[in-house]
């Protein structure tokens, strides 16, 4: 019942779950970043579907109608905008750090990097 009527939210949550399991199962740092971005997309889809109301217009005032009954909720749209900007910044930051790690240890595997790093701190 709810599974069918809330299909967008359910799909957003599954997308989030796919990204999350990607983050946990992959040992490659680049694939972890891809998983992180899939999680972000799940959040955007969830926010966009929460703001949607059946049969209403996008929140751009047309023909001078300023009745709240005519437009969808503008707040989640603003939140998605914030989310996209922050995710772009965080992705660029993570990729730059990954490049530095690769130059230092010549590997993208998190376990190997962790072992190299722990051996360095022991000395």
């Amino acid at each position: 019942m709810g599974l069918i009527s809330n299909y967008e939210e359910v799909f957003a949550v599954i997308l989030f779950g796919i990204g999350f399991s990607n983050l946990l199962f992959n040992r490659n740092l680049l694939k972890k970043i891809i998983g992180f971005n899939i999680m972000d997309s799940g959040v955007y889809l969830f926010l966009a579907s929460m703001g949607y109301i059946d049969g209403r217009m996008a929140p751009i005032i047309t023909d001078g109608i300023t009745d709240a009954e005519a437009y969808i909720n503008p707040v989640p749209s603003g939140l998605v905008l914030t989310g996209i900007v922050v995710s772009v910044s965080v992705t660029a930051m993570m990729l730059a750090l990954t490049i530095r790690l690769y130059r230092r240890y010549n590997t993208l595997n998190l376990d190997e990097i962790y072992m190299f790093a722990s051996r360095e701190t022991k000395k």
């Binding site: 359910v10 399991s21 109301i53 300023t66 709240a68 707040v75 989640p76 905008l81 914030t82 490049i99």
Partner: protein, 313 residues
């Protein structure tokens, strides 16, 4: 006797013998203050390299019993965590109010107020633009600061001190005098830039705004760089223009919105005309703020590309 041995240890013959036997590095015998930091770094590096050769390599470490046990436990736990996490999220999503219903608790008096009073108070036809650049302008300022901080971090992390080496490696990937790309870019670049400015300038009238328009401008700049190479692109976009544009846009945003919030909080007249809603020159500060945000986003995207490709302007 002791003095004779000390004298011998200071002599050149003793040092040469040590170096030949491989027990010491030639630099070890220099007085501390004579060594430059570079020498120290090379010594540390060689020591580290020899040590890491002696110790176990990661391939052998990943095959130890402890590691295998750890990875097995990790995988089992991850499966359990993922299944519990996804199931609980799906159950929550099923019990949420149904999609598209106006009885959704998110549709309360806040968005109602934004839609009903938005045109009157901000002068923007696009309610989302009015919301993010007027009611919640400091939130958007925070966003552009996040972008700025990310650019600074990438600049610090990926800055190449020696650009000529990077230039050499970059040459192999760069399209050299690609005729099709150049012809296409010379037609597309002006169109893309004009469209980007259109989206930015119409941010308060239609869908769009600083962020999306800035992304379009940034991709146009990247296309120009791809088609005409670094030398030509640097006449238009270089580190100096980046620093001046982004910093002045951020400072203007900060001062303009600080003024507007200060006067608003103290109930002083701002004397910023809201104009006729629907005109291109209307809605007070939203249009200049959109331009600021657009410039910041465009230069951010271009700088990300340049830094990841070559490590410097």
């Amino acid at each position: 006797m002791a003095r004779i041995r000390d004298n011998y240890e200071r002599s050149a013959a003793y040092r040469a013998e040590k170096v030949i036997k491989g027990e010491a590095e030639p630099l070890d015998f220099l007085p501390e203050e004579d060594r430059t930091t570079e020498d120290k770094l090379t010594i540390e590096k060689t020591v580290k390299e020899s040590e890491s050769e002696l110790s176990l390599s990661p391939e052998t470490l990943t095959e130890t019993v402890e590691f295998k046990l750890y990875s097995r436990i990790y995988k089992a736990l991850s499966v359990v965590v993922c299944i519990i996490f996804i199931t609980s999220l799906v159950i929550t999503a099923i019990h949420l109010p149904s999609l598209g219903s106006d009885l959704n608790p998110a549709n309360n008096e806040v968005p109602e107020r934004y839609v009903e009073k938005g045109v009157e108070e901000t002068g923007a036809i696009n309610t989302v633009a009015g919301m993010i650049l007027d009611y919640r302008a400091f939130d958007t300022f925070g966003e552009s600061c996040v972008l700025f901080a990310a650019v600074i971090c990438v600049l610090i992390l990926l800055k190449e001190s020696d650009l000529s080496a990077a230039e050499h490696s970059d040459r192999q990937n760069e399209p050299k005098n690609d005729g099709i790309l150049k012809a296409a870019a010379s037609i597309l670049f002006p169109v893309i830039i004009i469209f980007g400015f259109y989206v930015i300038l119409n941010g308060h009238l239609s869908a769009g705004g600083g962020f999306s328009g800035g992304a379009i401008l940034g991709s146009g700049m990247i296309l120009y760089l791809l088609a005409f190479g670094f030398e030509k692109a640097h006449k238009l976009f270089n580190y100096k223009t980046f620093a001046v544009t982004v910093c002045s846009a951020q400072i203007f945003y900060c001062i303009a919105k600080g003024f507007s919030f200060f006067t608003g909080a103290n109930e002083i007249e701002t004397h910023i005309p809201l104009g006729n809603p629907g005109d291109i020159l209307s809605s007070g500060l939203i249009l200049p703020l959109n331009i600021c945000v657009g410039l910041v986003v465009a230069y951010t995207i271009y700088t990300f590309y340049v830094m990841f490709r070559r490590g410097g302007f």
